[in-house]
């Protein structure tokens, strides 16, 4: 058997077999619908990703401030007490004033 000739014949058959370019009914509609749903999901993912980043940043800032408050040598127990005392006085100032008037 002449293999070269056989190969040529088979390739000629493949060349003669032009594939059809038929597209399934409403294929473009299906693709557009698929893309629209993907876009919606992507937008949602974008929000979720943004919110997670914000949450991580907030947690990091809270940790940093906490660490700073705990380890800062200038924030002694006495000043902390003063601060809470001052805070309480300020908060209850209006009540104290109304007591004094009565």
């Amino acid at each position: 058997m002449n293999l070269v000739e056989l190969q040529k014949k088979l390739l000629a058959a493949a060349r003669a077999d032009v594939p059809v370019d038929q597209v399934p009914y409403a294929f473009e509609k299906r693709i557009t619908a698929l893309l629209a749903s993907r876009v919606a999901v992507e937008n949602l993912n974008l929000w979720v990703r943004g919110l997670w980043r914000a949450a991580v940043s907030c947690a990091a800032i809270a940790l940093l401030i906490g660490a700073w408050a705990a380890f800062n040598p200038t924030t002694s127990v006495a000043t902390a007490d003063d601060l809470s005392q001052n805070f309480e006085t300020t908060l209850l100032a209006s009540v104290d004033q109304s007591d004094q008037v009565q």
Partner: protein, 191 residues
């Protein structure tokens, strides 16, 4: 008034996904015809076409508009078909002993009366389909583009993203691979 391709692409890039539909409608016949060269089942062809359009949509920002949209899309189609071939390497180990009757007849006529054979015979199409299925994915892609679609080495390099020397090397190997498969087919039939 009908919008131009550039206008449609600009609209899609601005977030109007509906503007993609006319592009899908216009170029899907070419995408489907190309996919049918590599996949036999219609469901596989549809999967390839869908994958092509999803990729085209997500990578549309990389389309610079220097070449026609169709060329950019066809590159994507050929590469998606290649990925499909790599993912579906089936039937490569089977023998040619289970040829159908028309295929056996065609081979016998090739030996006895080769002048009577036409290129358009269905049996020959089935046989070449079997031979192509046994090729490795790069060999199949090169044989299809070079020998069946009659494209130049430069065109193949552009479509596949391979360098020109790589296409030549792969074409050389693919021809050798195909020769071996055709020889095996003849051996399975007559020995």
């Amino acid at each position: 008034m009908e919008r131009t391709e550039a206008e449609l692409i600009a609209a899609v890039l601005k977030g109007d996904a509906a503007s993609f539909e006319p592009l899908v409608q216009k170029y899907s016949p070419r995408v489907f015809a190309t996919a049918r060269r590599y996949a036999r089942r219609e469901s596989e062809v549809e999967d390839i076409a869908q994958e092509v359009w999803l990729k085209a949509f997500s990578k549309l920002q990389s389309f610079r508009g220097e070449a026609p949209f169709e060329h950019w899309l066809m590159r994507m189609t050929v590469r998606t078909c290649y990925d499909f071939l790599r993912g579906h390497q089936r039937n490569r180990e089977s023998s040619f002993s289970e040829l159908s009757e028309p295929e056996n007849d065609w081979l016998e006529r090739f030996v006895t009366q080769p002048e009577t054979l036409t290129d358009n015979a269905d049996a020959a199409k089935l046989l070449i389909g079997r031979v192509l299925e046994k090729l490795t994915p790069p060999a199949r892609l090169v044989i299809t583009l070079l020998e069946i679609e009659d494209r130049s080495v430069k065109e193949i390099a552009e479509l596949t993203g391979w360098s020109v020397p790589l296409v030549k090397v792969r074409a050389f190997r693919a021809r050798g691979e195909m020769r071996k498969i055709v020889a095996k087919m003849a051996k399975d039939k007559y020995l």
